[in-house]
C-alpha cells in the first residue's frame, strides 16, 4: 500500500514553489535577513490563525478577530501609554478584554444558537467601534520603552514575537491532540448533536473556543502595538480574512471536525513569502490578494487530488 499523502501537501507545494521561484529570481531572497523579516512579520497573523484553526475545527468561523485586535491594542495603549500602568499588567488587561469579547460571541453562539458568522459579525462591528470610542480616533504613540523593545528584541536569531507565535502553535497542537478539550472541539465540529449525546459539555467547550480566540487576538494586539510602537484604532483591519485564508490554505476543512496546526503554520509562512515576493517585484499589496486568491483555489485542488489518491490506495 502506498503511504498516504499528508493533509499539508497542498500548502507545502505552494510554499516550496513560491520560495524556490523567488530564491531563483532574487538573490537577496536567499539571505537569512529576508527570512528574519518574513518570520517577524508573520507572527501576529500566525497567532490569529492558530485560534482560527480551533474555531474552524469546531465548525464555526470568527470574522471579529481583527476588530477585537484593534480594541485590545487601544486598551493597551491607553493603559500603558496614557495611564502609566507598568507593561505586564497592561498587557494582561488588554488580553483580558480580548477574552471577554471572545466569551460574549462564544455565549451567543453556544447558548443562544446564533450562527457563528452572525455573532462574530456583530462583534466585528462593535469591537472596531469600541476601539474608536475609546481612542477618539487618535493613535497613541507615547508608549513605554520596555513594550517597544519587546517588538524588536530577538533570541537565538529569531524575533521574540516569532517565539511567542511558535509557542502558541506548539501549545495549540498539543491542546488539539492531547487534551479532552481538543477532542471535544473536533467532536463538535464533526457533529454537535453526536458530541452532546456522547457526553461532551458542548456549550462550555464552544464558548471557550471563541474565548481562546479572543485571548489570542489580545496577544496579537500586544505584538502589533510593540512592533509598530503605536496603538492605532484601525489595527488588525482585514487580518481576519488573512487568518481565515491561512487556515484554509493549510488544509483545515471549513466544514469542521478536523484540523492541522502544522498546515496552518505553513499557510501563514506561504502568505508571508507571497507578500514579500510581490513586494520584491515592486507590485502593490493588491497583487497579494490576486495571488492569494489563486493560491487558495490551487490548495483546494491539490487537496482534492490528494484525497482521490488516498481513495485509490484504500
Amino acid at each position: 500500500m502506498k503511504p498516504r499523502l499528508p493533509v499539508e501537501t497542498g500548502v507545502a507545494v505552494i510554499l516550496l514553489a513560491a520560495s524556490a521561484w523567488l530564491a531563483i529570481t532574487f538573490p537577496t531572497f536567499r539571505s537569512g535577513a529576508t527570512s528574519y523579516v518574513i518570520i517577524g512579520n508573520a507572527s501576529e497573523i500566525a497567532i490569529l490563525a492558530a485560534g482560527m484553526t480551533l474555531v474552524i475545527a469546531a465548525g464555526g468561523i470568527d470574522v471579529s478577530v481583527g476588530s477585537v485586535l484593534g480594541l485590545c491594542a487601544i486598551v493597551l495603549g491607553k493603559l500603558a501609554g496614557e495611564m502609566g500602568w507598568s507593561i505586564w499588567p497592561a498587557c494582561g488587561a488588554s488580553i483580558g478584554v480580548g477574552v471577554a469579547c471572545g466569551l460574549i460571541t462564544g455565549t451567543l453562539v453556544a447558548r443562544f444558537a446564533v450562527p457563528p458568522i452572525v455573532a462574530t459579525l456583530a462583534m466585528f462591528a462593535a469591537a472596531r467601534a469600541g476601539a474608536y470610542v475609546l481612542s477618539g480616533g487618535d493613535s497613541i504613540s507615547q508608549l513605554p520603552e520596555g513594550l517597544i523593545s519587546l517588538g524588536y528584541g530577538s533570541l537565538f536569531g529569531m524575533p521574540y514575537t516569532a517565539w511567542v507565535a511558535a509557542g502558541v502553535f506548539v501549545l495549540g497542537g498539543l491542546v488539539v491532540r492531547r487534551t479532552s478539550f481538543g477532542r471535544g472541539v473536533l467532536a463538535i465540529g464533526g457533529g454537535r448533536t453526536a458530541a452532546f449525546l456522547s457526553g461532551q459539555p458542548t456549550q462550555r467547550i464552544e464558548t471557550w473556543v471563541y474565548g481562546i480566540n479572543g485571548l489570542l487576538a489580545g496577544l496579537a494586539a500586544v505584538i502589533v502595538v510593540a512592533r509598530g510602537a503605536t496603538a492605532i484604532p484601525d489595527a488588525g483591519r482585514f487580518s481576519e480574512m488573512t487568518a481565515i485564508t491561512a487556515v484554509v490554505l493549510g488544509g483545515t476543512p471549513v466544514t469542521g471536525g478536523q484540523c492541522t496546526m502544522t498546515g496552518t503554520t505553513l499557510g501563514v509562512l506561504a502568505i508571508g513569502v507571497i507578500t514579500n515576493g510581490v513586494r520584491a517585484y515592486g507590485k502593490g499589496d493588491i497583487w497579494v490578494l490576486l495571488v492569494l486568491g489563486c493560491a487558495l483555489l490551487v490548495a483546494v485542488e491539490v487537496d482534492r487530488w490528494r484525497r482521490r489518491e488516498r481513495r485509490r490506495t484504500e
Binding site: 446564533v114 456583530a122 462583534m123 466585528f124 467601534a129 474608536y132 470610542v133 493588491i286
Partner: protein
C-alpha cells in the same frame, strides 16, 4: 411536518418573518421624522433613498444565496468589477446603455464562476467566494491600473440620483420576491435550501439551481455597482470595499435564516433600509462614522435573537 412554503403561509401574522424588521423600521423612521428636523429635509431623504436602494439590491441577491444555505462574500468585489467594466467602456465612448449592459454581463459572469466552482468542483461556498472576493478585487485593480473612471455621461449619472436607486430596488426586489413566491426557480431554490438531497430525489437539479442563484447574486451586485458609480460619478476598483458584511447583516436583520431553506426578500430589503436609516440617524446626531458599528452590532444581535425566539415559537406550534 410542513414544507417551508406552507408553514410560512399558515403562520399567523404576528410571527411573520418580516415583522420584526418592518416594525423596527417603522418605529425608527417615525421617531426620526418627529424628533429630528434635519432627517426630513428633501436632501437627506434623497441620500437615504439612494443608499437604501443600492444596499437593498445587493441584499436581495444575497438573500437568495443564503436561502440555499450558501453565502456570497464576493458581492463587494463583483460590484466594483461591474462598475469598472461599465465605466471604462463609457470613457472609451461607448453609449452608456450598452456599456451598462456589458457591466451587468461582467457581474453575471463573475457570479457564474462562483456558482461553477461551487457545483462542478464541490467546494464550500464560503471558501469559493472568499477566494473570489480577493480575486475579483485584485483583478479589477490590476486591469484598471487603479485608475478612476470619473468622466461619465450625465444621463448615466441620473440613474444613481435621488429616488432612482430606491425605485430600482423595489423593481428588482419585487421581481425576485415574485419569482420566489410563484416561479418555478423560486420553488426550486427553497427546495434546495431545505434539503439538497430531497430536492434532487424529487427531480430538482440542485447544481443548476445553485449556479443560477450565484449568477443572480452577481447580477444584483452589478446593478448596485452601476447605481453606485452613477451616484458617485466615479467608478474605481475600491468601490464598496468591505460591503459584503453590511449586505449579510441586512439579510440577517431581515429575518433570512442562515441555515437555509427559508427567508424573505422583502425582509432583506427592510434590513438594508434599517441599516441605512440607523446610520443616517447617527450621522445626524454627529456620531463619528467609525462608531456606527456599536449600533449595527447591537441590531444584528437583536435580529439574531429574535430569529431564535421566532423559531422556538414556530416549533411549538
Amino acid at each position: 411536518m410542513l414544507g417551508a412554503v406552507e408553514a410560512q403561509a399558515l403562520l399567523p401574522l404576528a410571527a411573520r418573518r418580516e415583522l420584526p424588521a418592518l416594525s423596527l423600521l417603522v418605529v425608527a423612521v417615525t421617531t426620526l421624522l418627529i424628533v429630528n428636523p434635519a432627517f426630513r429635509t428633501p436632501d437627506n431623504l434623497a441620500v437615504l433613498a439612494q443608499d437604501a436602494g443600492i444596499l437593498g439590491i445587493m441584499a436581495c441577491g444575497q438573500a437568495l444565496v443564503i436561502i440555499t444555505a450558501g453565502i456570497d462574500l464576493s458581492v463587494g468585489s463583483m460590484l466594483a468589477l461591474s462598475a469598472c467594466v461599465a465605466g471604462s467602456l463609457m470613457m472609451r465612448g461607448m453609449p452608456w446603455l450598452v456599456a451598462s449592459l456589458c457591466g451587468l454581463v461582467a457581474g453575471v459572469v463573475a457570479g457564474l464562476v462562483n456558482g461553477s466552482l461551487i457545483t462542478y468542483r464541490r467546494l464550500p461556498p464560503i471558501l469559493v467566494t472568499l477566494a473570489t472576493l480577493l480575486l475579483y478585487r485584485g483583478l479589477t485593480n490590476v486591469a484598471t491600473g487603479a485608475a478612476p473612471y470619473n468622466i461619465l455621461p450625465e444621463t448615466f449619472k441620473m440613474i444613481g440620483k435621488g429616488t432612482a436607486p430606491l425605485v430600482m430596488m423595489v423593481a428588482v426586489g419585487g421581481l425576485i420576491a415574485l419569482m420566489v413566491a410563484r416561479g418555478r426557480l423560486g420553488r426550486h431554490i427553497l427546495a434546495v435550501g431545505g434539503s439538497p438531497l430531497a430536492a434532487r430525489l424529487s427531480g430538482v437539479p440542485p447544481d443548476a439551481v445553485l449556479r443560477r442563484v450565484y449568477a443572480i447574486s452577481g447580477l444584483c451586485a452589478g446593478i448596485a455597482g452601476l447605481l453606485l458609480a452613477a451616484a458617485n460619478g466615479n467608478a474605481q476598483w475600491n468601490l464598496a470595499d468591505g460591503w459584503e458584511l453590511d449586505v449579510i447583516a441586512a439579510t440577517v436583520i431581515g429575518g433570512v435564516r442562515l441555515t437555509g431553506g427559508e427567508g424573505s426578500i422583502l425582509g432583506a430589503m427592510f434590513g438594508a433600509m434599517i441599516i441605512v436609516v440607523l446610520r443616517n440617524a447617527l450621522f445626524l446626531l454627529g456620531v463619528p462614522v467609525e462608531q456606527y458599528g456599536l449600533v449595527t452590532g447591537g441590531v444584528i444581535v437583536l435580529a439574531a435573537l429574535t430569529e431564535q425566539w421566532r423559531r422556538r415559537v414556530e416549533s411549538r406550534q
